[in-house]
């Protein structure tokens, strides 16, 4: 377009000065004809959008109906490249995987999204926290929906992560070479439970308050690091310097504890969990994809190679 404009500009300048209205009119007509011609070409080009620069800049791969083109389409996409290019058909049966790992990740995304939205209305300080929950429940547009999505997804994620672990155990997928990923998975389970626990205090209601009271009192009995635990008092642990104190930011469940739970819940643990998830998914690929029964092709299944 810029070229055309430049050309037209040049032409109008070239028109001899003082030659009257006629030459100006002719130049104008010529200009409009050129623009029309250009527009027709552009519209014709739109019939084949695959050939436009815009299209090619976004979709780099020629979309032929060939396996190679399909594979390239996946490989050149940042989101899809996590998928393996080839996969054992029997390993991805839902009756084999239950889809639990994928569902857990999906729930994690739902939780991250709804949680971020909840953060827009929630203040992690005493008195205000519970009021914000009531406000979210009763007045914020879709607040009740958001809060319940977050709550149910959280409960579901704990369940699906555990079922995923159970499936991996049943199918023996923790065995070599996947021992490393099993350990990463166990860490992810613990992080899921910690996310669930730290989120429990945030509404600052009776349920959460006493749950956190009980939970952190268990930390008092930590060996060496808790003031009620074995060898704790001998190492100089008191309610004011033990591991429980570090978790609560004080000797009682109060404003500091609420703020700490909030930061662990919204920032620290999600970052740690996301990092471990990246390793987990990467490791699935590096260990040979989803574990599964040895690929078997029955004689009856052998067909002529079909062109897709």
């Amino acid at each position: 377009m810029a070229d055309t404009d430049g050309k037209n500009g040049g032409q109008s300048q070239q028109a001899p000065p003082g030659n009257g209205k006629r030459s100006t009119l002719a130049a104008l007509l010529e200009d409009s004809r050129a623009i029309r011609q250009r527009a027709i070409e552009e519209i014709k080009a739109l019939r084949q959008p695959q050939k436009t620069v815009l299209w090619k800049s976004i979709l780099r791969v020629k979309h032929d109906e060939t396996p190679r083109s399909r594979a390239l389409g996946v490989l050149t996409n940042v989101f899809l490249h996590l998928h393996p290019a080839k996969i054992n058909r029997d390993a991805v049966r839902y009756s084999y995987t239950w889809g639990m790992g994928g569902i857990s990740f999906y729930l994690y995304i739902v939780l991250a999204f709804t949680g971020t939205l909840l953060m827009f209305y929630y203040h992690p300080s005493k008195v205000v926290a519970f009021r914000d929950i009531l406000y979210l429940e009763h007045d914020v547009p879709f607040g009740k929906l958001l809060r319940n999505m977050h709550r149910w997804a959280a409960h579901l994620m704990v369940i699906t992560v555990e079922l995923h672990m159970f499936r991996v155990f049943l199918t023996g997928s923790y065995k070599a070479p996947r021992q490393f990923n099993w350990v990463v998975g166990v860490i992810l389970l613990v992080l899921t439970l910690l996310l669930s626990f730290t989120g429990y205090l945030l509404p600052d209601d009776q349920l959460g308050f006493w749950a956190v009271t009980v939970g952190t009192n268990m930390a008092r009995a930590t060996p060496l690091l808790g003031h009620d635990g074995p060898f704790g008092p001998q190492l100089g642990m008191t309610p004011f310097n033990d591991v429980r104190f570090g978790l609560l930011g004080g000797s009682i469940v109060d404003a500091n504890a609420l703020l700490r739970a909030y930061i662990w819940h919204c920032i620290a643990i999600p970052i740690i969990a996301s990092t471990f998830m990246i390793v987990h998914f990467w490791r699935v690929r590096k260990d040979g994809g989803i574990s599964g029964p040895a690929p078997v092709t029955l004689a009856s299944e052998i067909k002529e190679p079909r062109k897709i």
């Binding site: 009271t213 268990m218 570090g246 930011g249 004080g250 404003a255």
Partner: protein, 199 residues
């Protein structure tokens, strides 16, 4: 390590060589290079110095990170307070300070003492049930009699009692930072001076 079906003659020797031993690893880490060449010596010494510096820096940073989570100043309720005169309290359990100070004032034939309203199981506040004459914890069901002595549920010992004394005016001063306990199988501190006001 999967054992090969047919073992070569030097299998045992190779296995012992493959199996990493801690002492070997330490020796490798801290020993000087085998061929002492002056230049190589200097380089490895420098490398050790840089590694030690980086690790030391990160280690100190980690300690600072941990220390950061332990505040010096706390903004928590005062643990010492006055609750009035002994004559204000009749026989039995008085719950008027439960929500304000988390204590119960109990008077029996021996005197007045203050129970710190924290379940000895996992720290919830039990409820006083006047009709059943007992404290019942809503969290896990521990039960205590009217003097805070546990008799049911998971509680391991009676509820702690706070230090009490009379000030110059004759008012009761409670100090929650000094608690008297009766751990299971140990001596009861409930008769120590300060655990009870004998009036």
């Amino acid at each position: 390590m999967p054992a090969p079906s047919v073992e070569p003659a030097d299998a045992v020797e190779r296995q012992s060589a493959q199996k990493p031993r801690l002492i070997d690893a330490l020796r490798t880490l801290f020993s000087k290079p085998r061929e002492p060449e002056p230049e190589r010596d200097v380089i490895s010494r420098r490398r050790r110095f840089v590694t030690a510096s980086v690790l030391g820096f990160l280690g100190v940073n980690f300690l600072m990170f941990l220390r950061f989570f332990f505040p010096r100043a706390l903004f928590e309720p005062k643990t010492t307070f006055k609750i009035g005169y002994p004559s204000d309290f009749g026989f039995g359990v008085d719950t008027r300070f439960q929500s304000k100070y988390r204590i119960w004032v109990v008077r029996n034939t021996e005197g007045i003492f203050v129970i710190y309203a924290v379940c000895t199981h996992l720290g919830c506040t039990p409820d006083w049930k006047p009709s059943e004459n007992k404290f019942k914890c809503p969290c896990h069901g521990s039960g205590y009699d009217s003097e805070g002595i546990n008799f049911e549920g998971p509680a391991p010992r009676p509820m702690d009692r706070a230090h009490v004394e009379l000030d110059a005016d004759g008012q009761i001063v409670v100090d929650l930072s000094r608690l008297y306990k009766w751990p299971k199988g140990e001596r009861s501190q409930f008769n120590d001076p300060g655990a009870i006001i004998r009036v």
